[in-house]
């Protein structure tokens, strides 16, 4: 780790880079941002903005469940419940009823309520409020390592499922007629998104995680004309705004997550105005 710290210090001779927590936060965001940028492209293509929002909310119940079940590492219950929710929401979404968004919305509210109920029992919610707004400055080297391994695994899975997902995003029936197992691929993707969202939630926060997933891709979509520029722009937007927001937050003394999302929103609106005709 100190090797990487040294590199950061020599490459980035700025005041903020002197702090260990900033170096950790920088490493975390350099991993999380591209991950979200990549996954976001498909999430937006497949109209999953609502899905990931509900997924983020379910994190609170995930933490609560972990406490109820006496699991020491809350990450385990968080990821497990996230995966379960993702599969459930995907199933409801695929039922295709007009009411599926209502059902997802109800699920999302219940997940928040149950989480709050359990975590606030006895008046001790404040120690969990970090989950709401996130705290990227407290990310630890082992968490960074975990995120890095996730990045590698996700990129490998991504390469395998990309074409299938793209075809599904164009038209599900067409994909099925070409022999694509649509349910399987959608589920794999939902699970991947769930794992990434849950692992990043401690750093980014329940309230902001969805913007990190959706905004870079939505921005790229404003300008991109083909799948390559779409992906590239999404990743670049995510990285630039992620790092930019983090550094800004250091100097202006604001929440890192909020600064990152503000940067993303700014770029989104600019591209929205100048978007392709």
């Amino acid at each position: 780790m100190s090797f990487i710290y040294n590199i950061i210090e020599s490459v980035l001779p700025f005041a903020w880079a002197d702090y260990k927590f900033m170096k950790n936060a920088l490493l975390a965001i350099v991993i999380i941002a591209p991950l979200m940028g990549v996954l976001g492209t498909m999430a937006v293509n497949n109209k999953m903005a609502f899905f990931s929002d509900a997924l983020g909310h379910s994190a609170l119940t995930g933490v609560a469940l972990g406490i109820l079940l006496g699991i020491k590492n809350e990450m385990i219950s968080l990821v497990a419940f996230g995966v379960l929710s993702a599969l459930l929401i995907t199933r409801v979404k695929n039922k295709g009823n007009a009411s599926s968004d209502t059902v997802i919305s109800v699920f999302s509210s219940v997940a928040i309520a149950v989480g709050l109920l359990v975590l606030s029992y006895g008046g001790g919610f404040s120690k969990y409020s970090a989950y709401l707004v996130g705290d990227i400055l407290s990310v630890t080297p082992s968490e960074i390592l975990c995120l890095f391994i996730t990045l590698i695994i996700v990129l490998v899975i991504w390469a395998f499922i990309y074409n299938k997902l793209l075809l599904i995003s164009i038209n599900k029936e067409l994909a099925a007629s070409r022999g694509v197992k649509t349910v399987l691929y959608e589920n794999v993707f939902s699970v991947v998104v769930a794992v990434v969202v849950m692992l990043s939630i401690k750093s980014v926060g329940i309230l902001l995680i969805n913007s990190l997933l959706i905004l870079p891709a939505a921005t790229a979509r404003n300008i991109a004309k083909n799948s390559r520029t779409y992906l590239a722009l999404s990743v670049v937007t995510s990285l630039v705004c992620g790092v930019g927001g983090l550094i800004t937050s250091f100097y202006v003394d604001t929440s890192a997550g909020a600064s990152i999302v503000m940067a993303l929103a700014l770029v989104f609106f600019v591209t929205y105005i100048v978007r392709k005709k």
Partner: protein, 245 residues
């Protein structure tokens, strides 16, 4: 059925297709043969089971019966390659997916957003030229007209080259010029490739002009044969012009 087929050597046998939904019988023992180099039109009134039949052939729904390919060596293959052009592609027109991306999806297993290799790119050029859409290669799918989309869909359905091509009212809602261009391509295909074509259509004018054979169905095969045979049959009149005399 008429035995005058384009190559006269290969055929696709659809045998005893039956589909039930609950108590309702949607199709019962539908059998027919599709010949290489020929366009067979499937016609029938609304609710006759045309789409159900296509879905059975595509193996998208549970059904009885088999679809078998018999080559001229007498070789029988059960898993044939089927190309499918749906009636109307319902998709998000703002999606940043280019025609090139779309064409590549079925051809490569590496993500289509990566750099394309030259061989693939050339093959796509050829496929798009065949349907007269080469100049659309770099365009976003959402920018194409209805007729252009159908031709791009056709081009992508032809890789890998299928034994059977299924068209489900391929140009309904496309303007006359677009429709004509589409059928020009289909006629070319018939002439130059070893491929059987099945098409669902409501447009008897088009059926008359382009189809070699016609199969009239309503839950089962009512009548099949040449266009003239079927169109002059009593079954045809009863199906479409009942009580109109």
């Amino acid at each position: 059925m008429s035995s005058e087929n384009g190559c006269g050597l290969c055929k696709i046998s659809v045998k005893d297709i039956g589909v039930k939904k609950g108590k309702d019988v949607l199709l019962s023992s539908v059998s027919f043969e599709l010949f290489c180099g020929q366009l067979t039109a499937l016609i029938g009134v609304n609710g006759a089971g045309k789409t159900t039949l296509l879905k059975s052939i595509l193996n998208e729904i549970k059904h009885d019966g088999t679809v078998l390919f018999e080559s001229h060596h007498g070789e029988k293959i059960e898993n044939i390659t089927i190309g499918y052009v749906p009636q109307h592609l319902d998709f998000d027109r703002s999606a940043p997916i280019s025609v090139e991306d779309f064409m590549l999806i079925g051809r490569t297993s590496s993500p289509v957003c990566f750099k394309k290799d030259k061989k693939q790119s050339k093959a796509i050029d050829e496929a798009l030229s065949m349907v007269g859409c080469l100049e659309l290669k770099q365009k976003t799918l959402g920018m194409l007209s209805g007729g252009e989309i159908q031709r791009v869909m056709l081009a992508s359905a032809l890789y890998p080259l299928p034994e059977l091509l299924i068209l489900d009212e391929p140009v309904s809602g496309v303007d006359a010029k677009g429709s004509e261009k589409f059928y020009e391509v289909i006629s070319d295909l018939k002439k130059n490739y070893h491929i059987a074509i099945a098409m669902v259509s409501h447009d008897f004018g088009i059926v008359k002009e382009y189809a070699d054979n016609v199969i009239l169905i309503n839950k089962s095969v009512l009548k099949s044969g040449s266009v003239d045979d079927v169109f002059s049959s009593s079954e045809f009149k009863e199906s479409f012009f009942y009580g109109l005399d």
